[in-house]
Symmetry: D2
Subunit: 370 residues, 4 copies
Amino acid sequence: MSNSAAAPRPSHPKEAVRVGIVGASGYGGVQLVRLLSEHPGVQMTYLAGQDSAGKRYGDLYPQLAHAVDLVIQPVDVDQIAASSEVVFLSLPNGLAADLAPPLLAKGCKVLDLSADYRFRNLATYQSWYRMGKTDPHWPSPDYRQANEGSVYGLPELYREAIAQAQLVGCPGCYPTASLLAVAPLLRQGLVELDSLIFDAKSGVSGAGRAAKVGSLFAEVDGSFAAYGVAQHRHTPEIEQACSELAHTPITVQFTPHLVPMVRGIHVTLYATLRDPGLVGEDLLTIYNAFYRQSAWVRVLPRGIYPQTKWVSGTNNCMIGVEVDSRTNRVIVLSVIDNLMKGQAGQAVQCLNIMMGWPETLGLPRLAFYP
Amino acid sequence: MSNSAAAPRPSHPKEAVRVGIVGASGYGGVQLVRLLSEHPGVQMTYLAGQDSAGKRYGDLYPQLAHAVDLVIQPVDVDQIAASSEVVFLSLPNGLAADLAPPLLAKGCKVLDLSADYRFRNLATYQSWYRMGKTDPHWPSPDYRQANEGSVYGLPELYREAIAQAQLVGCPGCYPTASLLAVAPLLRQGLVELDSLIFDAKSGVSGAGRAAKVGSLFAEVDGSFAAYGVAQHRHTPEIEQACSELAHTPITVQFTPHLVPMVRGIHVTLYATLRDPGLVGEDLLTIYNAFYRQSAWVRVLPRGIYPQTKWVSGTNNCMIGVEVDSRTNRVIVLSVIDNLMKGQAGQAVQCLNIMMGWPETLGLPRLAFYP
Amino acid sequence: MSNSAAAPRPSHPKEAVRVGIVGASGYGGVQLVRLLSEHPGVQMTYLAGQDSAGKRYGDLYPQLAHAVDLVIQPVDVDQIAASSEVVFLSLPNGLAADLAPPLLAKGCKVLDLSADYRFRNLATYQSWYRMGKTDPHWPSPDYRQANEGSVYGLPELYREAIAQAQLVGCPGCYPTASLLAVAPLLRQGLVELDSLIFDAKSGVSGAGRAAKVGSLFAEVDGSFAAYGVAQHRHTPEIEQACSELAHTPITVQFTPHLVPMVRGIHVTLYATLRDPGLVGEDLLTIYNAFYRQSAWVRVLPRGIYPQTKWVSGTNNCMIGVEVDSRTNRVIVLSVIDNLMKGQAGQAVQCLNIMMGWPETLGLPRLAFYP
Amino acid sequence: MSNSAAAPRPSHPKEAVRVGIVGASGYGGVQLVRLLSEHPGVQMTYLAGQDSAGKRYGDLYPQLAHAVDLVIQPVDVDQIAASSEVVFLSLPNGLAADLAPPLLAKGCKVLDLSADYRFRNLATYQSWYRMGKTDPHWPSPDYRQANEGSVYGLPELYREAIAQAQLVGCPGCYPTASLLAVAPLLRQGLVELDSLIFDAKSGVSGAGRAAKVGSLFAEVDGSFAAYGVAQHRHTPEIEQACSELAHTPITVQFTPHLVPMVRGIHVTLYATLRDPGLVGEDLLTIYNAFYRQSAWVRVLPRGIYPQTKWVSGTNNCMIGVEVDSRTNRVIVLSVIDNLMKGQAGQAVQCLNIMMGWPETLGLPRLAFYP
């Protein structure tokens, strides 16, 4: 785990790398398609989907018909491996466990966007993601072995390991915004470890493109609510990385809320300072130093608080830091686009690192505004 | 301070009470106009406004022209007192300080929606609302005296005092949602007093009807952000009532955020439990008991979290309670309509109490949905 | 067909009429529940639903649990008739055809919110609503007979017939806004009959509470589009009433669009004037005279154009009229709340008329704003 | 006027062209900044603004501080001309009239985004834009002369003239969407010339970044309304180009509406067909042929209607065509992003043509979705 700059200088792509996307029809998949179809280093060769196999991609998304001229294929490991050097898996939790091992065996690099390869300890995965399931053959030896070789795809914390990885388990959207907010505090040992509260707010696209009553416009518009209080699955993922940063097990409070907007995550982090003498400028200095090498993290000047719109459509994370001397707490505000830095963009950032390309290659940096 | 039920039974209004509204053209004012024009106990006799005096109210709001047939008058104390038994002041902070005393002297009951009469200690008001102002004559003797006789208009905590009051300082929107969330915890001594964190989210109407770039649709839509971190003016108001509930001075963390929606406030309260053995059901029992006499507070069943839309257009506060046994914290979720229970509705609720009417008279209870 | 005022003066309800609602769980149903639970003339005795039978209504809609204490019953004609004097049917098209006749036979008054009883000529219904269906037994004799006795429930055009009706076929949302816009023009013979173009825009709640990808927040927000161009089912309904107004068959252009908002319909009507000498003031005079007896239609002053928000939550229709002397066209702008005057509110207005009550009884008249 | 393909093949830029933007702080300006800062053929050398001169651009827009490192300069013609080969003017109407002539005289190419250089006949400009103004010296000889040499910047109709122009008057947003909808019909003589009705709908960003009550989130959200009925200033602009297409003067009906969304324009065009035998497929064939050379216009397949979201953030115009055989009308649906193809994107498209570059250079083609 390191964010040092000892890695070799990135080089620009010589010829296009062939990439495939499995699960191209959801919101995550369509972001990958958008990004990869304009990425100067790759050629999209294979789009796969279970339900939509056989359809033209432009029939699913008429607005992309002029740009993406591919037919969706079935999820066939041999065909995928034959056509792709790199494979993105954008599937519901549980499916990549079986799909990644044979692709790795055939020499593909794999970037998985589900939760399957995010946990060092599969027992943690099991207790949060497979409650009530009692399959004696789980996990399969192949899955277990692949997972041991996987790297958690948060470049700002695991850049060097990603550069060497064959399999990357890309982080969840909430953990990305939460960990980038908290990392400097834990690395520097500045806060009480039992005081971490992540109050998180997300746009609706995080719920995906499934037809659910709770995601209808008439239900969501004009409303704000919490969900999954004290039991959201992203909690253990945040705790795992926090514990590695602090070199000791950490339990955190994490509360997600739904915001009536399409994109964006905002995390408000509360932590109690160990040293009551620290002021806002001190913290900004520490944050700026921590992220100096990170092209996709922007620490804002004192008194400027990030808006989710400021990162909309980009791979940026923007961070504001404030100290409340009355309560001796630091409050960190962190925003990302949940579908970009929180999902597809971060996966492409990992691809760039795995390929030795500049980390910013092919990724939007100017927010969609207004 | 009491929420007991020792008060005499409310009686229905015999004949209409004449009421005036000063500051009828903003969002708060227009809510008062809507509520009072349909309230069975009152007759609106006087609408006053500085900038809009002389205009018909229906010219300001064509959608109300068929229902409100009044011309906006200048802010003239004699005329107001001559035409009104009760006066609502819905003005920017600082103006009610001068306006309320002469109205009281002429026998009017006054409900002020600004911050002027919310603080027992005017030094607190001064340090948060009049920073940098050095008027040696402030506060005037009349203002000081009126403030000493004023009551904080949160009926669930100060019902009996409101019933006797001539002057009510109606609470801010954030404090209303925050205090209803925290009151049972403090009254019962259940939580660590330095652990209170109120992460609050508000719709945009809270910023009023002023033409500001930051409130434009193209700026707000699709965006979420914090503001006033560690320095919002509603902090001392929350602390004052918390301290009275706990019988000891309390400092709280309060962070407001702007949500891309018109109405609604959602407060997520975090507090550390003193007794780690308490579970969610215990807390629900306590909350239900605390609010048994309160017609406008609804404690939701276990696992149901309130949505701001569930109270939209009503005077309801809905509350969900959850305990996280991993972190030993209680998380309370509280929602109100910022313009109703957070402003105009609560003022009318106070009026009902002052008049001896049923607390629910003339106030909407069914949410505007979808 | 008449909007004269020859009807006897309305009388206030003596005792509560027992009403049932079949199909109480959709957006139309929940509006009926909201309106009828606060209506001074009725008592809700029966809520019926196929899928949700056996559940408490407050489990479907937690925000209404404090106000509606009923269990949803199966759709049983005998039980409905035993408990209800008046029955509202809020079901998908095709179901009321079978349900209304036995309810009428048992003496119930029936208000149907579907398309089943809107058409004088069932062949028109068949060709637009039952394309491809070839049931030789359709329509049943009972359905045909009930339909012959039904009245089209647009009070501003058919007030007297509604007052005598046992069965009312309530209009669609688009036809309501369209017909109120065009009626004075056709009644007075002011426009070319082949020139009528209704460009209509609707909020998303018109699509109902079904879980469809096209109604997801992430799909609808920030987007505007037409649908059903040249083939929407509300076209023949508009044509039927237009033809009756003009005493000759009329074909109209009707184009619906989806607006990223929850509620509201806006119709922009274009028609070519027969007399090029007419000016805007002439038209306003005609519109005001036409709607003088209609408490729920508001003709706006010259130069004021209605916003859908101005009628939100109310039973109002607001109308603006403009003449373009350059093109010799009249442009009429008409707005309603699609769930109120466009659906549940209008059904309650019809109920009031059927019962001899004031037409405004129990219906909101002040818009939800902001 | 021609859309033939006789022009020389475009060549890619050799070295960066220096461009300046006058009026960089509004919504139009910020789009230009975003596009030009990533455009491979240009270097932004000068940002000018009257009110914001002296500020860093990143202070106005913190979300762009990492990408745009320029200080806003005063509007000084000498400095602009010294630093820029091409100048974009993004100012309120009336200012470019004075600014363009001296810039042209100093050898700059100028693209004006206001209405000042859109009209061949300045009397038309005067009667719609300068009502009540009686300046005897207007227009100045310089302005008149510059206007005579200007070209209307709608590439799909005036591509060859733009390629030769020193001064381009870029079209308004509504005229762009309207003219692309109607052009094939008029060029081919397919419709009755007095039958054109453009029912147009726009997102709120079209009103700019000025702080106006009518543009507040709380006013706009959830509401839809018409404005400027029969008198909007874009009417004569549409009529000018229509008349040139038809080689005869044409009067049109144009009605704009405000949609509660940030971006996007949707035009619904109604026209009566001269030949009642034409069917939808015929029209699609004609539209496809007309736009075969136009990279930024996409004619959609039969039965697919464009959504504004499908072009969001791109320079695309998407068009759907339908024929209603019952009414003998053609209905054309046309969508653009009002800030891109409707403003900044189209200006860059014109720049590409003026420079002999590919028309698509540096312009986004994949919609921001979801």
